[in-house]
């Protein structure tokens, strides 16, 4: 994220704190897709993700006057989004969760399409990224897609910075294992 955008987000939050709805629309337009995708990757349900981003931005509207600017606005919003997503996941019936988890972590080698994917390393990588646990999926997304620094990930997830690095290492290790199972040997770790 550029410095200008960060500054601009801070200005928007200042206006939102004064009740400026246009500033709220601008902030929503700027960030809602990324926040939606972050939440969707956690809850795996588009309708729930849509409901949750409305709640996330409503929290932003209500709490804008308490934003202290210690972190980027996007980092603050992702932290809110993560909390909302995990709360929604906790409310789901266990059966529903089990079925989803099972679907997500199904061994790609059992899938008839895997043989085709072996020829397509990129597609295999994407399939395996989907099969990661929510914890590993989350950190991979935050680092690679949401462009969050070690410090920012630590703030969003609520873990020490060293744990961020460790968790990222194990997420990548798991990804490599899934790829290996799918027939893609990368020579690491």
């Amino acid at each position: 994220m550029s410095v200008n955008q960060t500054t601009s987000d801070d200005v928007l939050i200042g206006r939102i704190a004064q009740g400026d709805r246009l500033a709220m629309q601008v902030l929503f337009a700027r960030h809602h897709v990324r926040v939606y995708r972050f939440v969707l990757r956690l809850v795996s349900d588009p309708a729930t993700a849509e409901d949750l981003i409305s709640e996330v931005f409503l929290d932003v509207w209500r709490q804008a006057d308490r934003f202290e600017g210690r972190s980027a606005v996007s980092t603050w919003m992702l932290a809110i989004a993560r909390f909302k997503a995990l709360s929604a996941l906790r409310k789901r019936p266990d059966k529903e969760l089990d079925e989803e988890t099972a679907a997500a972590i199904e061994d790609p080698s059992d899938d008839p399409e895997v043989s085709v994917q072996k020829k397509d390393k990129s597609a295999a990588l994407r399939t395996c990224l989907k099969a990661l646990s929510p914890e590993h999926r989350e950190i991979i997304d935050l680092v690679y897609y949401h462009e969050k620094s070690v410090e920012e990930v630590a703030e969003i997830v609520g873990i020490p910075e060293n744990t961020v690095k460790t968790r990222m290492f194990y997420a990548r290790k798991k990804l490599a294992e899934l790829l290996k199972t799918a027939g893609v040997e990368r020579g690491w770790p």
């Binding site: 939606y36 969707l40 990757r41 990224l129 462009e147 690095k165």
Partner: protein
């Protein structure tokens, strides 16, 4: 992590940073460290390429997730409309009150006690000033009046004097004056005179005169003292 795969700590440290280096989110110093290490280590460079593959496919995967429908925005702004009563603008004033409360909470008990005393005296002074102004206004149309005639008669209940306080006397000065002389305000002001009780018993004239003289010596607080008995 530092002993992972038996690698040297420095090398492992650098490898841990590869994902952030690929995403361009490292600080300048760390980025230069990683660049230098990659340039000198072919295996590290190969692993950096693996990281870049992961980065590219993670972006591809996320971009394929689509975007939320307009429903999300409609829901949000409908909620904001309903939330009008608790809009941020209103909460700012609540927070101001909270900050004021927090300020007073932060004061020590002694400071708080002095503040409370000062506040009470300020209120008394205000009441005195307001009463004076109101009564002056109401008496403006009168041609003549005696202070003793206007003030409620307290005859037989103690010894009173009529007092005009000095303009420069503060509420604290007046309070101290009353305490020193064990006196109490019993009525007034009428015009700018107050009835002050200096004794709860009816004193002989000579004793009252002595008290009046003593009160008159308080030049900073008293402008005029008149016996009423």
């Amino acid at each position: 992590m530092s002993t992972m795969n038996g690698k040297a700590p420095e090398r492992q440290d650098i490898e841990d940073l590869l994902p952030w280096h690929a995403a361009g989110t490292l600080g300048r110093r760390d980025a230069e460290r990683v660049e230098t290490a990659i340039a000198a280590d072919k295996e590290l460079a190969r692993r950096f390429d693996l990281v870049r593959e992961e980065l590219a496919e993670t972006i591809h995967l996320n971009e394929s997730l689509g975007a939320p429908s307009a429903r999300a925005m409609q829901t949000l702004f409908a909620a904001i409309e309903q939330d009008g009563a608790t809009s941020p603008r209103r909460r700012v004033s609540i927070n101001f009150s909270s900050r004021v409360s927090a300020f007073f909470s932060s004061l020590s008990p002694r400071t708080l006690a002095w503040s409370a005393t000062a506040a009470v005296l300020a209120i008394v002074l205000q009441a005195v000033v307001i009463s004076s102004v109101v009564l002056k206004g109401s008496s403006a149309s009168r041609s003549y009046e005696t202070a003793s005639a206007e003030l409620p008669s307290q005859a037989g209940q103690g010894s009173d004097v009529l007092v005009r306080f000095a303009p420069q006397a503060s509420a604290a000065d007046i309070t101290k004056f009353l305490q020193t002389h064990k006196a109490t305000l019993v009525a007034g002001p009428t015009g700018d005179l107050y009835r002050v009780r200096v004794s709860t018993t009816r004193l002989p004239k000579n004793e009252l005169d002595t008290i009046v003289k003593a009160l008159q010596s308080e030049r900073g607080v008293i402008a005029l003292v008149l016996p009423t008995n």
